[in-house]
């Protein structure tokens, strides 16, 4: 079992959390709306899960679900006023929302620990390790060291969660609701005239995106066992946007690809990582000029999978 490398698993776990975040912005973009507040929703999920686990000993799965739901509810509250207006308003309002959430996290010290954040959040892998020891099952009996076992568990849980989420939205894209999303993205007025309640679906998509961000945040809190406001800045929101802009926003595999590549690449190319964000900036402008739909788009996927046709636009 020596081939199980905790460091590689940790990088893979960050990839999966970023995949979830990439999906969260994609879901909102699939109705043509840009959210810059996903770092804020992520922090709502993370703080909710962390506080429930540390203060009230709520079981981890329950806390994670609560984090996602609360973030989704916040999405409805932010979405309703701003979605009545043009897309630019939503971008700015969500940007502002993220900053308000961060200001609250920094200033409400008695609840959130202020700028220092919350430490000692139960780590999923360690909790399961302790449980399985209680049941008489030890990693050693599987031929693993405890830290291998822990990182493997975290990775598998995140893999299951992101697979489920991606599958959920893949299926949604091919359903009646997914067609409504695509129609709204392509031409709001035509969609409305064809009988689609545009505002309803925009709020729905926006809060689904917020919920996925919250879920990612909650999983993040239980993977790292430590969170602070510095994890959820505007820069995080921009990084999430870059996953979708680079990978592609016309198909869910776009942000998945973008998150995976842009998370592993700087790890692999340490020398470049000094200039990482400068390169990101240039990359974003070049993408908007030459390939605004991102690297992965439906025609590319069709070419990669000959023989299979159809699917959502």
């Amino acid at each position: 079992m020596e081939w199980i490398n905790p460091y590689h698993l940790q990088v893979a776990s960050f990839v999966l959390i970023n995949v979830l975040l990439g999906v969260s912005i994609y879901v909102t973009l699939s109705t043509g709306q840009l959210s810059l507040g996903n770092a804020g929703f992520m922090s709502i999920g993370a703080y909710t899960a962390a506080l429930l686990a540390t203060n009230f000993q709520v079981p981890i799965p329950l806390g994670i679900a609560a984090g996602g739901l609360l973030a989704g509810a916040a999405g409805v509250l932010v979405g309703i006023p701003s979605l009545r207006l043009s897309g630019v308003y939503l971008a700015i309002a969500t940007l502002g929302f993220g900053e308000v959430v961060r200001a609250v996290a920094i200033n409400w010290e008695s609840l959130t620990g202020g700028a220092v954040g919350i430490a000692g959040i139960p780590q999923m892998g360690r909790v399961i390790l302790a449980r399985s020891r209680d049941l008489g099952l030890s990693p050693e009996s599987l031929g693993m060291r405890p830290n291998q076992f822990i990182s493997l568990l975290v990775f598998l849980i995140l893999l299951a969660a992101s697979t489920l989420v991606v599958a959920f939205f893949l299926r949604l894209a091919r359903s009646r609701v997914g067609r409504a999303y695509a129609a709204i993205r392509l031409d709001e007025r035509a969609a409305e005239s064809a009988g689609i309640p545009v505002t309803y679906y925009k709020v729905l998509a926006f809060s689904q995106g917020a919920m996925v961000s919250g879920l990612a945040g909650a999983l993040f809190a239980h993977s790292t066992s430590f969170i602070s406001p510095a994890d959820f800045t505007y820069h995080r929101a921009v990084e999430i946007l870059i996953f979708a802009v680079f990978g592609g926003s016309g198909h869910i595999l776009g942000p998945v690809f973008g998150a995976a590549l842009l998370t592993t690449l700087p790890e692999a190319l340490r020398t470049v990582s000094h200039y990482r964000y400068i390169l990101y900036g240039v990359l974003v402008v070049l993408m908007m000029i030459f390939r605004p739909q991102g690297i992965v788009d439906p025609p590319l996927l069709r070419r990669l999978r000959p023989g299979r046709t159809g699917g959502a636009a």
Partner: protein, 294 residues
């Protein structure tokens, strides 16, 4: 105390107004938000700092230097990040928004590489001079900031309403296609707008350095966010809305810090955004509510 806070608030507000004017000019003409404006403003501050503190040149030369550098940055931004997207089928104003976000990431991290992450002192020779005016004492720096911003705002208003160039710009803002048909070189007007807006950002950068005595590579982000809040508050594309909104934000921040909690100072702007979206979505001076379908 109250009067002094009032003066502080008006000073801060007038800087905010100038930053917001940069956003509003570009939005008025192009219908897009220039997310790189905050970072251009920050470069203005750094150029001013280098010239005043490191090179020791007089303040007017520092302003000139900041205006030249930020104006050139505006030109490059328009040429390479906005113009290639213009008029392309299917390019929404979200594409331009994202493109300017790219420029802002580039500039912020470029500043990090060039100037580091720490604070830089911005020393003005008359930082300590105070003038007694009636019952209060006013810092000379504050008076100067106020004077410069008022001159800039008055100049912009006059230029927009009285001159040929200003009128052409307003026509372009009204309707890009029609302005083109009337023989206005719209590409040139757009470039001019972005350059003027960026140069105003450069002036605001130097003013912020004078007001706070230090700068760092995060001021672009925080000032940029406030500028955005102000134009939503004042009404997108409204020149007077940007001025009034800037003043109101400056005053409310100053009084919240003076009589409340300083920690939430930077959040006020966004509480304002959300309140405005709920109550009066078109903003203070906005005309009709913008349609969702454009």
């Amino acid at each position: 105390m109250f009067l002094e806070q009032l003066i502080n608030g008006v000073t801060l507000g007038s800087i905010y107004a100038i930053v917001a004017l940069g956003y509003t000019l570009v939005f008025g003409v192009l219908d897009i938000i220039n997310m790189a404006h905050g970072e251009i403003f920050m470069f203005g501050a750094f150029v001013g700092m280098l010239l005043v503190t490191k090179a020791g040149v007089p303040l007017p030369a520092a302003f000139l230097g900041a205006v030249v550098v930020t104006g050139a940055m505006g030109f490059l931004l328009e040429r390479f990040a906005l113009r290639p997207l213009r008029g392309r089928a299917g390019a929404s104003n979200l594409a331009s928004l994202i493109s300017t976000i790219g420029v802002s990431i580039l500039l912020e991290n470029l500043a990090h590489r060039l100037f580091g992450a720490g604070n830089h002192l911005f020393e003005t020779p008359f930082a300590e001079i105070r003038l007694p005016v009636g019952p209060v004492t006013v810092q000379l720096v504050q008076a100067l900031i106020l004077l410069i911003s008022l001159l800039l705002m008055a100049g912009l208003s006059l230029w927009l309403s009285r001159t040929r160039g200003g009128k052409a710009l307003r026509a372009t803002a009204e309707d890009l296609t029609t302005a083109g048909l009337l023989g206005i070189d719209t590409d040139r007007m757009i470039t001019a707008t972005v350059v003027i807006a960026s140069a105003m950002g450069g002036v605001a950068g130097v003013l912020v350095g004078m007001a706070f005595n230090y700068i760092n590579n995060q001021i672009g982000l925080s000032m940029g966010l406030k500028g955005l809040a102000i134009i939503i508050f004042g009404g997108m594309g409204s020149v007077y809305g940007a001025m009034a909104g800037g003043l109101i934000l400056g005053l409310s921040e100053t009084f919240v810090v003076a009589y409340g909690s300083s920690g939430y100072r930077d959040a006020i702007a966004f509480v304002i955004i959300i309140a405005v979206l709920l109550v009066r979505p078109q903003g203070l001076f906005g005309q009709a509510a913008p349609g969702a379908g454009r």
